[in-house]
């Protein structure tokens, strides 16, 4: 427990100390909320889909968690380059424990980031439809955070340096985001597109958040929750395995 706590605390401290990064990571969701929210809002409403901000905010909250979590996971590469990873890898603790501590730390940071975006959304007009669902919404937020921190760690465990990072950004993180239904509704999509979205775990996270916060789930909260829990467990196991195989 002490090891997990130490790993967790380290990540929180680092996050708290790097204010520019913290603010930088908030810039993007803010931009999406304002530009899309106010830009597309009128079109969305004309199409008879209701208030766009109600639709968009859960998506942007999920987005901010996705990005922060992935970056937190990929941080392993920095730890490797600056040598700190060696300090943890030769310590008499199992790599599973290290992985749990790191993932919880990264996920906590991403979760906090999501909360901040939620607060900003409310400040610009988003309204939670049923406060009773807030605890479940928090569960969804934490699951998204856990899943993608573990995924980031798994990927980073296989990478030597940051060179492949743009590849991951453009061919993994961006598609996961854009093809999750965070920005547009899932109804009436061409089938191929729909299929891709069906195998994207973030789609379930977004839908779950939308269901709990805006009462507008498309897939259904129960399925969302089940899929998120299952995928998070699988990815965590894969991540732990990849992490345990690191050679320096």
């Amino acid at each position: 427990m002490r090891v997990i706590h130490a790993m967790w605390l380290r990540q929180l401290k680092k996050y708290w100390r790097s204010k520019p990064r913290m603010i930088g990571m908030l810039g993007q969701p803010m931009l999406f909320l304002l530009a899309f929210g106010f830009g597309f809002g009128p079109i969305f409403e004309k199409a008879g889909q209701g208030n766009y901000l109600m639709f968009l905010a859960p998506g942007v909250i999920a987005m901010s968690i996705l990005f922060t979590a992935m970056f937190a996971g990929i941080e392993v590469i920095w730890d490797r380059q600056f040598g700190f990873l060696k300090e943890t890898l030769v310590a008499p603790v199992s790599r599973t424990e290290i992985m749990i501590g790191k993932t919880l730390g990264g996920a906590t940071v991403a979760f906090i980031q999501g909360i901040i975006v939620a607060i900003i959304s409310i400040a610009i007009g988003f309204r939670i439809t049923n406060p009773l669902y807030v605890p479940l919404a928090l569960v969804f937020m934490f699951l998204i955070a856990l899943l993608f921190t573990a995924l980031g760690t798994a990927i980073a465990s296989r990478m030597e340096d940051m060179q492949a990072f743009p590849l991951i950004m453009n061919f993994l993180i961006m598609p996961i985001f854009f093809l999750s239904g965070a920005l547009f509704p899932l109804e009436g999509l061409p089938t191929t597109f729909g299929t891709i979205i069906r195998i994207n775990p973030l789609a379930y996270g977004v839908d779950g958040l939308r269901g709990t916060l805006s009462n507008a789930a498309h897939i259904g909260i129960h399925i969302d929750l089940g899929v998120m829990i299952a995928v998070t467990i699988v990815i965590s196991i894969i991540g732990t395995y990849c992490f345990s195989k690191i050679e320096i």
Binding site: R2, V3, R10, F84, L85, T88, V90, A91, P92
Partner: protein, 266 residues
């Protein structure tokens, strides 16, 4: 498994792709011994240490650390040694004290004991008054001192030191070795270290092995090495054995990065 040896290495080979960084070496380190592992740049010292400390898998050969097999019994092996790496491994976004506390947690040193040892070691390394400063603001020598202090928080059966005193002034080096020799005596702690300071090896090591191009050339006490090579000092013996030419590094990006890093730190 009980035996007299702290470390046993038999016919160890470590290849990186086709390149043999460690080429069929064998040696034995007795419990409670101070063992110096010397060799020119790129000889394979760090690679050997990484294999012994579970960071790399051996390509061939048998090794045992404290009676454990670092390949199969990784967790048991890890709980039996401590290490100070050649390359920096501090978290520069944390303070000196936080780096120390993190280490104590990782090595299961009780909070009370950790507190005392951290204070003692930071005072010894003259870092106590800067303990709450972020490590990124430290000078190269201060970082190195902190790194060594951190490696001494827990008292392992075997301590690996990869060029521990690199870039440190003579006063500090002296202090560090006095402290380590004391631990070695009082706790029968085995010490396995590398260095490029021959006088350091001459003074503290019970046994010395010289490695070059991945092969061990000679091993024994300092006197034995001098006798065999018919030289007067360890430095002369070293040069006679390993030649006077400079070492071509493998030229990889990593190596370059490391050298630059080292220059900055030095």
């Amino acid at each position: 498994m009980k035996n007299e040896s702290a470390i046993t290495v038999k016919k160890l080979v470590k290849k990186f792709k086709d390149f043999k960084a460690v080429d069929n070496i064998s040696f034995d380190v007795k419990q409670g011994e101070i063992f110096a592992f010397l060799g020119p740049n790129g000889a394979g010292k760090t690679t050997t240490i990484k294999v012994l400390t579970t960071l790399l898998h051996p390509t061939e050969g048998k090794i045992s650390v404290n009676g454990f097999d670092p390949v199969k019994e990784t967790d048991k092996t890890r709980s039996s040694f401590g290490i100070v790496f050649q390359d920096p491994t501090l978290d520069v976004d944390l303070t000196a004290n936080e780096n120390m506390e993190f280490h104590a947690a990782m090595y299961h040193v009780s909070k009370k004991e950790a507190k005392q040892r951290i204070e003692h070691l930071l005072k010894l390394m003259e870092l106590w008054d800067r303990k709450d400063e972020l490590v990124k603001n430290f000078s190269g020598g201060m970082k190195r001192r902190l790194e060594i202090a951190r490696g001494l928080i827990h008292h392992p059966k075997i301590l690996f030191l990869d060029e521990p005193t690199l870039g440190l002034d003579p006063q500090t080096r002296n202090k560090i070795w006095t402290y380590i020799k004391d631990l070695n005596k009082k706790q029968n702690m085995t010490v396995f270290f590398t260095t490029h300071y021959m006088e350091e090896a001459d003074e503290v090591a019970d046994t010395i092995a010289i490695i070059d191009h991945g092969k061990i050339l000679i091993q024994g006490t300092s006197n034995k090495l001098k006798q065999k090579t018919k030289t007067k000092s360890l430095e002369q013996a070293f040069l006679k054995l390993t030649g006077r030419s400079l070492r071509k590094e493998n030229g990889s990006f990593k190596e370059t990065f490391r050298n630059i890093n080292r220059m900055w730190r030095g």
